[in-house]
Point group: C2
Chain length 216, copies 2
């Protein structure tokens, strides 16, 4: 797949070996997470808010209540940054200084567009739902006209994008390798536990396969 | 424990029932995570960067290379937002509209102070290391004078702080409870896998207890 063109703002300066601009890496990081952190400024104060997202080719969709300050602010076309991060492990070195974290992250800069077309809006909602749990959309009651109106959907183009990835073990200073200190990586993983049925349920449909076999 | 005073900027407006301002909730969210997302603006463009942190009472410490653009920018005393998020589960409703996520997040607004005193700097590095893995600091080679100089440490006061927490099952519209759709919560948890010893090791110290029994 092709590459995103780094700009002066997305070119990774620190540890450029960790930088990636290819769509394959960017898509993989975006598609295996479902929570992003959205950064925007109000009166010179930055805010960083966690939210869900979905991706369709080179568009990232955000959504939320029409009453949300974040979405109202972003609808006005202010600059935004959306960051997605996976924490894959703790890197334990022999010196405090060389401790690190294995991670994969994507940073997207740009300006979001308010999605007004109702077909695109509905499709974005399908993308969200299936982004979090593939197959869920077809099982659930789909949005009514009123629910669509109560929801703001924003589209952020994937144009100014960079990824940063650290993998592998610690890199210690040569003399420190002789120290009697355990060194290596503690891998971390997000794992689903047993699904908890709604206490308010009035029926007992079977647990769908996409839930039983959930992984990211 | 006492409460943080909400300000016009940290008062949660959307879904205020989810808001918490007490130190107990804020500390618990901060202390069980170790990656935050830091928001700051450069030339009007917000950036959101994932990084590690540590907490000591009402101070959040950030650190990194003296070459880091983020830390150099923040050292100049610009407004910053630090957000910490736990994703605890997927909330599966009977309608697409009522799907949600169980989460715990803290948002901290303020201005960071450059830590110049070398004793405070060293203590902050101890706090970072033990924040990620309690007990690790005492086992590893501690920072040299040169490593301290290569590291920027910033202190962000916990003053303008809010937490937001969603727990529990889905809340569906009354008629939807009759739909034959599985509804409930899929809990998600960060779990450690088997530690991977460094391939470059020259000795085989035992795996320390704090690593063997790691949990957050």
């Amino acid at each position: 797949m092709s590459e995103f063109q780094p700009t002066s703002r997305t070119q990774v300066k620190r540890l450029p070996k960790r930088a990636h601009y290819d769509r394959e890496t960017v898509y993989q990081i975006l598609d295996t997470a479902f929570v992003c952190h959205v950064g925007f400024s109000v009166d010179g104060q930055p805010f960083v808010i966690p939210t869900n997202y979905g991706r369709s080719t080179d568009t990232l969709y955000l959504h939320g209540s029409a009453a949300s300050r974040m979405l109202k602010t972003l609808s006005a076309g202010v600059p935004v940054c959306v960051t997605v991060t996976h924490v894959d492990g703790l890197v334990l070195a022999r010196s405090a200084f060389h401790h690190s974290v294995n991670y994969r992250s994507v940073v997207i800069l740009g300006t979001a567009r308010l999605v007004e077309d109702s077909a695109e809006k509905m499709e974005a909602l399908r993308v969200f739902t299936d982004h979090v749990m593939r197959g869920r959309w077809d099982d659930v009651r789909q949005p009514t006209e009123q629910e669509l109106k109560a929801t703001i959907v924003l589209a952020l183009p994937l144009e100014e994008v960079s990824a940063k990835v650290r993998t592998g073990g610690p890199v210690d200073d040569e003399p420190d390798y002789a120290l009697p200190v355990w060194a290596g990586v503690l891998p971390l993983q997000i794992t689903p536990k047993q699904p908890i049925p709604d206490a308010l349920r009035k029926n007992d449909p079977p647990i769908p396969d996409y839930l039983r076999n959930y992984s990211r």
